[in-house]
Every structure is written in structure tokens, then in C-alpha cells.
Symmetry: C2
């Protein structure tokens, strides 16, 4: 599926970035997972998964940012940016055992691959685990619905404002923050062109809503962003 890189095997029990569903596992179940997993690292730009490829493992992100996107010829839609603590593949745990989207490392990334069949067994063996998966899917689904709403009802200055707030509050959780994504990625996130992103950036700086140069952005007027977000 993916090219094996380097092994830095730690025991699951001692994992410090354990996901919520995995915290519910018994020692025995944890050991079973341990026996069917692989740790890998990816360099920035490498593909973790390719849309339509056979999915033998669920990918757990331990470190770094990953871009999940749908593609068809030249068209791309970024579904989300996955942060550490996210599973790639649970979105299609049942159904065709195929990755529903492509995933590309936006930074250097460390992951843990868990056998998908072990994953499925855990759903049946441990209902708290299953509940955790449902919770994860609930969150993803509502996010996707809200994205659908935003992309279809707001125009680019609204969507761009939303993106800035998302990056500061959710993705990087800081202000100012250091961009790890390109203008092209920002454009694909809010369904616009890179040129428009550049223009929006300049306009917002001119109006004193944000400042910064290069890869640093600081939000100066988040209230203003919120207003633009809501009222266009």
C-alpha cells in the first residue's frame, strides 16, 4: 500500500498520543492491536493514501499535518486538514475496502498503521470502542455538512475569513501562526483560485484585519473576521 520507511516501535500501552477510542481497550485488546500495526514516517509532500487504493490499514496520525482530498483529473477538493490524533480510513471502515480519498503529508508526518480487520474486530468486541468510533464519525459528518453549507452559501471573503479563524483557532491553535500550507492549498480549502487568495490576503492586510509576511499571519481583528464570515 505505502512504502515502508523506518521503524520506531513503541508499545501501544505506552503510546502518548492514544486516541479516545483506543483508551477504552483492555490490555489484551491493546496487545492484539500491537501485534498488527506498523509505525511509519513520511516526508512533506509524500502520499499516505491514494483515493481508490486498497485499504489494508487504518492510518493514525501521531505527528504532523495531513491534507485529505478528493481528486479527479485536475480538480481537487480538500476535505479537511488532519491533525495528530486523527484516524484516516474509519470514514470507510465498512463498505469497499478502499481509501475514499487521497492523503498527502503537509509536514513531516509520523503515523501508526493498524490492521483494518483488527479494527473491525474491536468494534464487535468492545462497545465503548464502537461508541468512540461513532462519536468520531458524528463529528466528521457535522463538519462536512457545515462545510457544504459554507461553500455553497458564502462568497470568497466570507469563506476566507472562516479559513483564517479556523487556522488560528483549530488548526494551529495560536495567533500569530506559521502557515504550513500553500496559497494553492488555501484556495483548494475554500474552493477558489490561488490568485484570489493572494488578493484577499492583500486586501485584509490593507484593511488592518490581519498582518504578517511570508508564512506568518497574525489576526488583528477577529471580531471583524467573524462579521465578514456571517454577513459576507
Amino acid at each position: 500500500m505505502t512504502n515502508t520507511k523506518e521503524y520506531i516501535k513503541i508499545n501501544c500501552m505506552d503510546c502518548k498520543v492514544k486516541s479516545k477510542p483506543f483508551q477504552k481497550l483492555t490490555a489484551e485488546q491493546m496487545n492484539k492491536v500491537d501485534e498488527h500495526r506498523t509505525e511509519l514516517s513520511f516526508k512533506k509532500g509524500e502520499l499516505l493514501s491514494k483515493q481508490g487504493m486498497f485499504m489494508s490499514h487504518v492510518i493514525y496520525i501521531r505527528k504532523g499535518f495531513v491534507k485529505l482530498y478528493l481528486e479527479n483529473d485536475d480538480d481537487i477538493t480538500i476535505l479537511t486538514i488532519a491533525k495528530p490524533g486523527t484516524f484516516i480510513g474509519v470514514q470507510a471502515l465498512y463498505g469497499e475496502a478502499v481509501f475514499p480519498f487521497s492523503a498527502e503529508a503537509l509536514t513531516d508526518v509520523e503515523v501508526c498503521l493498524k490492521d483494518i480487520n483488527v479494527f473491525r474486530e474491536l468494534v464487535l468486541e468492545n462497545s465503548e470502542f464502537a461508541k468512540g468510533i461513532i462519536e468520531t464519525l458524528n463529528v466528521d459528518l457535522i463538519k462536512s455538512y457545515n462545510r457544504l453549507f459554507s461553500l455553497t452559501t458564502k462568497q470568497i471573503n466570507g469563506r476566507f475569513s472562516e479559513l483564517l479563524l479556523y487556522m488560528s483557532n483549530v488548526l494551529y491553535e495560536s495567533n500569530p501562526f506559521q502557515l504550513t500550507i500553500s496559497r494553492k492549498d488555501m484556495a483548494d480549502l475554500i474552493s477558489t483560485s490561488p490568485e484570489s487568495v493572494s488578493r484577499l490576503m492583500s486586501e485584509f492586510k490593507e484593511q488592518g484585519i490581519i498582518k504578517g509576511q511570508g508564512h506568518t499571519i497574525e489576526i488583528l481583528d477577529d471580531i471583524r473576521l467573524d462579521t465578514i464570515c456571517k454577513c459576507g
Copy 2:
């Protein structure tokens, strides 16, 4: 939450439109559900749920079509058209106990309301049930992702072609088919204006891709629709 209408109580065991997850329940579990449910019917146009309202029950559609949509002031995005056999509310089973979207009856509708706490208990008591819920959410999530892709990368003739095929193959499962949704709804489904839907309809008729008048549509050239769908 919703105004109680008329009772036509049947036993869950004998229900002929039982959902996949509910088929996995034991007799005992089925009885518990039975004790905490209500059957209701809605007239066309009535609201089954209102975005943001407290969600005490999961709504199971037994009969009719329901429009699920997000709203904010005048803006609307239809998330999907729910058919019989669909749950409304599992999308937000955990998290805030609030309806994540509004639901409006597109036809006369019969539903079965199941207590959300019983629903949550079943997830923990019966792992096959939990698995069924995960399967449902998987399908919904992938659908939502594909919608996101379609809406952001295709232009209206492509989206309209997709809609026609969806109505014939998935929603009404017939050709010709009788529309139960308005031009406005069609517009909200593919994120365009009602005027554009009218124009597309005329153009497609002119080109011999579809025919029909009033609320009847017949697809004459589905290969053509498929091509427009993919290539714009």
C-alpha cells in the same frame, strides 16, 4: 419537540420497514425500543425537526420523502433527501443533543420516534447494532464528501445532470419519474437559482436529453447525462 399527531402503534417485532441495525436486536432489546417509541405522521410541508432544537428522539422514516437542510437567514443548503428506511438524528447521536439540521416533509410522511437514550444504550449493549450505525454513518460521510466535490468542482449543467440521474436511479428508482420536489428544491440541491433550473430543463429538453411536462420527467439519454456529469 414535534406536535403529536395520530397513533397507529404496531409492534416493533412485526415492523415491515425495519432498518438494518434494528434487525440485529434481540427480542428483549426490541421490546425495550417498543416501550420508548411513538409513531407519527406529518403532512407535506410540515417540519419534522428544526436545526438547533433539543433532540429527544431519533426519527425513523417509515414512509415518504423528507428534505434535510441547513439554514441561516435566507440561505439554505439541502444536505440530502431522506427516503423510507433512513434515520434522522444518528448523525448527531453523541455530542450536543440537538438536531444538526432541519427536516421538512416533502410528501405526507410516516415516522417512528425512538428515544435517543434507548438508542445510545443499544450501541453499548449490542455491538452488531453499533456496527450497523457505523455503516450508516460511513455511507453518509462518503456521500457528503462526494457532494462537496461535486458542488465545488462542477458547473451547473454537470450538477444538474447528476441530479437527474440521482432522481431517476436513487430517489424515485424509476424512469420516467414523478417529481415530488419543486424547482426551488432542485436549485437548493445543486446550489443554483430556480431560474437556472428552469433554463437547464428547457435546454435539456431541446437537446433531446430529457422529455416530459409538469411534474413528469423522462430521461432519454442517460449516457449523455453521464458524460456531462463527468466532463462538464
